[in-house]
Structures are given as structure tokens and as C-alpha cells.
Amino acid sequence: MSAFYGIIGGLVAVIIPLAFGLALLPKRCDLPRSRYEEYSIGYLLGASIFTIALTAFYSLGFESTAFVRFAILAGAMVAWRHAFRRESVRVYEPLGFQSYQVWVLALLALGSIALTLSWPINQFDPMLHFAYKGKVLFFHGTPFGEALSSLQSGDGFGRMATHPNYPLGIPILEAFSGHFALSNWSDRWVQIPLAFWAACLPGAIAFGLRFLSKSAARWGALLTASVPMLYLRDGFSSDGLGGTAWGTPGLGNGVTLGAGADLPVAACFAAGMALLLRAGAARSLRLGAAAGFAFAGAAMMKNEGLALFGVVVVAVLISGVLFLPSPSLEKRGRQAIGLALLTGLLAISPWLHLRGQMPAIDENYSEQLTLENTLHFLGGGDELAELSPKVIAQQKTKEEVLAELPPRRAIVGKAFMSTFFDFATWGPMWVLMFAALGALAIRPRSLADPLRRVLAATVFGGVLLYALILLVTPWYLPLLLEKGIPERLLLHLVGPIVLLIGWWIASAKEVKAP
């Protein structure tokens, strides 16, 4: 019976964000889209809004009581009614996928959902970094209790928590799945709202590319859905066909699907970029605000989302979109992009307030990412050998470890190069991205389009940011590489990368057939 309640609770925790997301999208007659695009972008947007609103709620010191849950349910019903009754035209505008393409997309989407739910939460990070906080919210209704805030008190004793200052997006979705399951927490069924990221990501990409051409949208969706990293990381390339990826498929830290945070960051960030492009192209303030929410949603899933929003802000500013007039981006389009940044900033601020009150353990990148540190490691600074497990366990001296390791910049460079040519993990995505960037370099006039400039700058800035983060990381870098970094970080950029590739494909076709 509890499984039944768990499934119902999980589905309610999907339908509620979906209702809010659909309600925020413009009417279909104003913004044509297929059903797949609508539900994909609607869910990602709704999950963002839901987690932003509840984070803000918690940050004000409120607790999620039964009344609050009832109010959310009532609000979702109103939103659902609004989303469906306002449509005078109920027709969707299909993307024109061929039937075999629909089958491929459907099988990948359904497979990803089924696999997420086929195991209960079974990995270290999803369980301890996120689901533990979900349980805390579920049982206590607030993140401010001792469970997260008392890692140490004056007498040396305290409660256990890993990364207490990680954002609450995933814990909120899990906690409310439990609440709506008539207060039944299930390690399997609280994952239901987390099972749709891989299924929604291609739809969000198609939504973002549709204004260029339907063919680019189809290409983008299929390319995204085919990236193996969406489902598991480095399983094929590092283990080969007989390795753990095939030996224990679906289990262990090599899986991207599940209750982890990297895939939702990628999905929400992709939705943000797609909405930003459509907001500019359609000159829609409503979509601009929606883009801001989706960017903030990525920040609610994992701290990297916050950094990526910073990249978008910088990309918009340095590409001059807000200030330089352009025939392809009218004033209202520029305003929509400005509104996206403003909405994102406002939506993130409650989380920053809450985060400031949480203890942090040893992962403060804003302190670490200094010019001094960057120049030190760029100049050939040694790896932090004193953090090597062998040195800590006194099995080797720092000097012995250093003798076996190249300088950190070389380790970072090698890690990125191997990632870019790792087809088994990424498919042809990186090669196509470099081709798209190459095309931009050959035809710089393409960058006259301000939206394309923002996209290219975001991709470039995102990769650069992650290279810098790895360069100055306070962790022992070889250990991070074992844990699938930089792959897990670069996954966050799948959205803008495929959008950039899609744009290249659309413009290449235009050139070919004027």
C-alpha cells in the first residue's frame, strides 16, 4: 500500500510543478510548440519555480505544514485550470519528426524514467548530499533545525551532514513527494519528480531551436537525447564493454540518472538558455521572466547552477546585447533578456540568504577562485600532494606523490582533452561544438546576431569556468578525476552547446540553400 501512496505522491509532485510551468508559458497561438516541447519546458520551468518559491519560503523562517501543502495543491489546480482554459487554439504545432525518430526519442525517454525508478536511491552523493536534506525537510519542515546547522558545537559534538550548504531544490522535490504520499518517505518513489530530467532535456532544446528551423530543432533534440552522458558517465570509455557499466548497469557512482544533481542542473540550465533565446526572438517579457526562473532553478539544484548564471550574466554583458542596437533584436527583445537576468537575480537571492546561514565544509570556490591562485597553477604550480590519501595515510611522502604527478595545469589540460575526444561518453557533441565554433570563427559575421553571441559566450565561458575551477580546486585533483570530474561539470553545459550546434546547422542549411 505504501508503494501505491509513494507513486501517487511522486506523481502529484510532478503535476504541481508542471501546472505552474505551463501556466507561465505564453499561449500556444503566440508561441507555437509541440506537445513534447510544451511538457518538457513546462516541467523544467515549473520545477524551477516550485523549488525557488519553497526556498524563499524556508529562507523566511516558515515551515512547510499541512496547510502550506494544501495551499500549494490549491494553487496548482488554479494554475492548471488557467493553463488549459486560456487556450483558444488547442492545436499543437508538431516538429515533424519521422516515426523512427519518435521511437528513438520515446525509448530513450521512457528508458531513463524507468531506470531512475528501478532502483531506490543507492549512491553516496544522492543519498547523503541531497536525500538526507530531503528527509530533514520531510520530517522537520525546515532546513534551519539542528540536523543541518549543527555540524559542530562548542563541546565538539554535533550532528552529521555532508555539504549542508548545498541548495534545496532536489530535497524539496523529494520531501514533497513524501508529503503528498500521505507522509510516506520511500527511497524509490521520492525519485519520481527526479526521473524526468533526461526525458525533458531534448524537448527543451527543440523548443529553443524551433525559431531557427524545425529541422535544427529535430537535430538538436535527437543529438541531446543520444548523448550517453545523460544516462551514465564515462562508463563505456573507461571500462570498456566488459566493465562495470555493463556489469552492474544502473548502479554505482558511474550513473548520471537517479537522484543526483548534475542532470537537473543541465536540464534547468538548458531550459533557461532555450527560453532566453525564444524570449529575445519573440520579444516576450513573459518568456524573459521564465528564462530567469529556469536559470535560478539550475542554481536551486546545485551550487554550480549559481556559477553558470554568473556566466550568463557576464555573457550578456560582454556581448553587448543590452546596450548595442541590433536589427535582429529589437528593444523589447533586449528588455526581455534584461528581465531574465533581473528575475534570475531576484529568484536566487532568497537562497543566497539561506545559504549564508548554513555551515560550509571545505568547498568555498569563491574564496579559492582568486587571481593569485589561478596564476600560481597556470604558472606550473604543483598539485596539492598533501591532500593525497596516500600522504594522509602516511603511506607516501608528499615528495613521493609529487614525483609521480605532473603540475596541476597539465592534469587539467589532459582531463579536458580526453573529455573532448571521448565519443563513448559524449557521442559527437564536442566535435560538433568545435565545428560550430570554427564556423563562427570563419564567418565572424554570424556573430552579428546578439543572441548567438550570448550563446557562444556562454558556452565558451562555461568551459573556461570549469577549467578554472579545476585549476584552483581545493581538492586533490587526481581524486576528483576518479569521481568523474570534469565530465560531471561539463554535463551542465549540454544545453547551450547543443543550442549552438543547432544554430550552426540551421545557418549552414540557409547558406547551402539560399
Binding site: Q152, R159, M160
Partner: protein, 365 residues
């Protein structure tokens, strides 16, 4: 005349798109089949078997002996198995190489002056002829080949190291092992021996296998979590304290994080959790810090006797809290104290949750 492609026939580009999707599709299919075959619930059997980390094993053993008065030289060890092969694959597939973990450990021990009694009936012939890259025989006269005589190999040895979990090794009773050995140390590179039974036989069990499955799936761990769920209230506060001096041998360190997750909303308290909950490196620092701050001989806590399952229900051992622990327990109104023995094998007797009244009654220091 333009020739248009009939609807539904994929273009070359379309076929390429589908081809890229094949790998994840195939993997998803395999993963779902795997989940279904395991009944959609992971168990240790759903993961790879524990692996034997050769370098760590020899280092650990040598460090262990170096820390004793007798040192390393002239030690004798029974060395059970040489290959990394999975016994489930059968004897026929077993093979040996000079770079294999088992052989590397044997060589490191020989070089340190340890006498080896190797029991590797399936591979003895191959091992005797094994040569290294320079063409020299790997094993010299410091090795005694014991054929199939695993029990005889134990006579008077200082320790036993299990490298391969062949069924004939696992069939030998802990009592027999204890009777034959001179030393007390049993080193398990595969997490295959019965730690509780070895412990009850008076042996010291050390596992340094790299576990294939995560710690929270260990059946004993899960059983004890279920026991704690039943025997405590959801609003209970529990203080966690080591019942013995902390060691760093655990391949499954930080199991308390999983216990904390599983037992939420119960409140579990630990000494300096900000260090204990960090990385595995910080965990080791935490162990060192704990042992420095709590010199065991001055703690007034008796070492526990042989572990027995009865302790799970007996709750009788004398336990004492020092002043800081007593104050911490009083300040947090803890309901019980969870003492643990620092072993990585997760036998149920590794934990004893004792109501605070019983602990309090014996409180000293």
C-alpha cells in the same frame, strides 16, 4: 525532376542520428534487465565482488608488523591463493601473472624478509615457473609450497592472508585456524571470511578488501538499522561513541553517515562531525584526531571481549563516559549511547545501543 524521399524512409543523416542513440539505448536496456533480475532491489550481489588491493595489502601488513616489538624479519605467513580470478569462473580459467596483485604482495613480503607458506593448489605449478621481466624466477627459497595443505600451512605462523576466496579455504573452520596459528592476525583481502566466527575463536580479523558494493547494503548493517528502528523512537537522540580505539583500516569508513541517513529523524550525535563527514582523507584525519584526544589507555573503558551476537539483545557490557561525553549526553538529552567497535565487516556486534540510564549508572571519570 526532383526526387523526394518517401515519408518514413530515413536519410543518411537521420540514420546517423539513430546510430548515436544505439549505445545509450542498449545500455538502458541492459540496465533495466539487470534491475529486473535483481528484483529491483540492489544487494551486494548486484555489485562486483570485493577487490584485492595488492599495494595496500603488503603495505598494511608490513606496517602492522613494524609497529610490534618483533618487527618484520623472520615472520612467517600462510598465504592462501595467488590469483585475482573469481572462483565463480572455475579452476580452468585461473591464471597467474608476475604483475598480479597476489604475486606483487608475495614479492613485497619476501623482499621485507617474511617467510611465505603459499597454498595455491590450482596454480602452484605455474607459480613455481613464473619469471619476472628480467627472466628471474619470481619465487625463491623463502617460499614453502604447501600443495593443498591449507590447514598444515597454518602451523606456527604469525598471520594468515587470504588472497583468493577458493571454496576449500572458506570451508576451514575458524577454530581450526585458531588452533594451528601462533599469531592472532587474520588478514582478509576479499571480505570472504566469517569475521564474527573468527573473532569468537579469539583471532583478530582485519579486512582490507576494497568493497565492490556500498556499505549500506551489507546485510548485517541493514539488519542492525532495522533493529534500531524497532528499538528506538523517532524522536530519540543517540550519542555515537567508539567502543574501542579507532583504526583506519576500514574500506567502508564513514558508515555512520549512512546510519544517520537511514535513522533520520532520530538525532545522531558524533564527536567533531565536521571532520568525520568530510572526504575520506579528512576521515583519516578525524581518526587521528580522535585517538590523540582520547588516549585509550587513560579512558577507563575496558576493551570488549570476543564479539557475540548476544550483545545485540544483552546490552550488558560495562560502558563508561568521560566527563565531556557525559556533559554532551546531558546537554542533548540523549536517550541512548551507540558504542561501536571499529571493524569494517559490519557484523551486528559492531554496534551496541545502550540506554543512557545503564551507561549513566556506570559513569566514571
Amino acid at each position: 525532376m526532383a526526387i523526394s524521399r518517401p515519408q518514413g524512409i530515413p536519410s543518411i543523416l537521420g540514420l546517423a542520428q539513430v546510430a548515436f542513440a544505439l549505445l545509450p539505448l542498449l545500455w538502458l536496456g541492459t540496465a533495466l534487465t539487470h534491475a529486473a533480475s535483481a528484483g529491483f532491489e540492489p544487494t551486494p550481489a548486484s555489485f562486483p565482488r570485493p577487490s584485492f588491493e595488492g599495494a595496500d595489502a603488503s603495505q598494511y601488513l608490513l606496517d602492522f608488523w613494524r609497529g610490534t616489538r618483533r618487527g618484520v624479519a623472520n615472520r612467517t605467513i600462510a598465504f592462501w591463493g595467488l590469483s585475482d580470478d573469481d572462483p565463480a569462473d572455475g579452476v580452468a580459467s585461473a591464471s597467474l601473472s608476475a604483475d598480479g596483485h597476489g604475486v606483487r604482495v608475495a614479492r613485497a613480503l619476501m623482499e621485507a624478509g617474511v617467510q611465505l607458506r603459499i597454498v595455491s593448489p590450482h596454480l602452484e605449478e605455474q607459480a613455481r615457473a613464473l619469471k619476472d621481466a628480467s627472466g628471474k624466477l619470481v619465487f625463491d627459497d623463502r617460499v614453502t609450497w604447501m600443495g593443498q595443505n591449507a590447514i598444515d600451512s597454518l602451523t606456527g605462523v604469525d598471520g594468515l592472508l587470504l588472497v583468493s576466496e577458493w571454496p576449500e579455504f572458506l570451508a576451514i573452520s575458524p577454530t581450526q585456524i585458531a588452533q594451528q596459528m601462533r599469531g592472532r592476525g587474520v588478514f582478509d583481502g576479499r571480505e570472504a571470511l566469517d569475521a564474527t566466527a573468527l573473532d569468537a575463536a579469539g583471532l583478530n580479523y582485519y579486512s582490507f578488501a576494497k568493497p565492490g558494493s556500498p556499505p549500506w547494503l551489507d546485510p548485517d548493517f541493514q539488519n542492525y538499522i532495522a533493529h534500531l528502528r524497532e528499538s528506538t523512537e523517532e524522536d530519540d537522540a543517540i550519542l555515537m561513541l567508539p567502543g574501542t580505539r579507532l583504526g583506519t583500516t576500514s574500506g567502508r569508513a564513514r558508515w555512520f553517515l549512512h546510519m544517520n541517513y537511514q535513522l533520520t529523524p532520530r538525532e545522531l550525535y558524533l564527536w567533531r562531525p565536521e571532520l568525520a563527514c568530510g572526504t575520506s582523507g579528512q576521515y583519516r584525519q578525524w581518526v587521528d584526531a580522535y585517538n590523540k584526544a582520547h588516549p585509550w589507555k587513560k579512558m577507563g573503558r575496558p576493551q570488549p571481549g570476543p564479539r557475540e551476537l548476544s550483545k545485540l539483545v544483552g546490552n550488558t557490557p560495562a560502558r563508561f563516559l568521560n566527563a565531556a561525553e557525559s556533559n554532551a549526553a546531558a546537554a542533548r538529552k540523549v536517550d541512548s549511547v551507540l558504542f561501536w567497535t571499529h571493524n569494517s565487516d559490519f557484523r551486528v556486534s559492531d554496534w551496541e545501543n545502550i540506554p543512557i540510564e545503564k551507561v549513566g549508572a556506570g559513569a566514571q571519570r
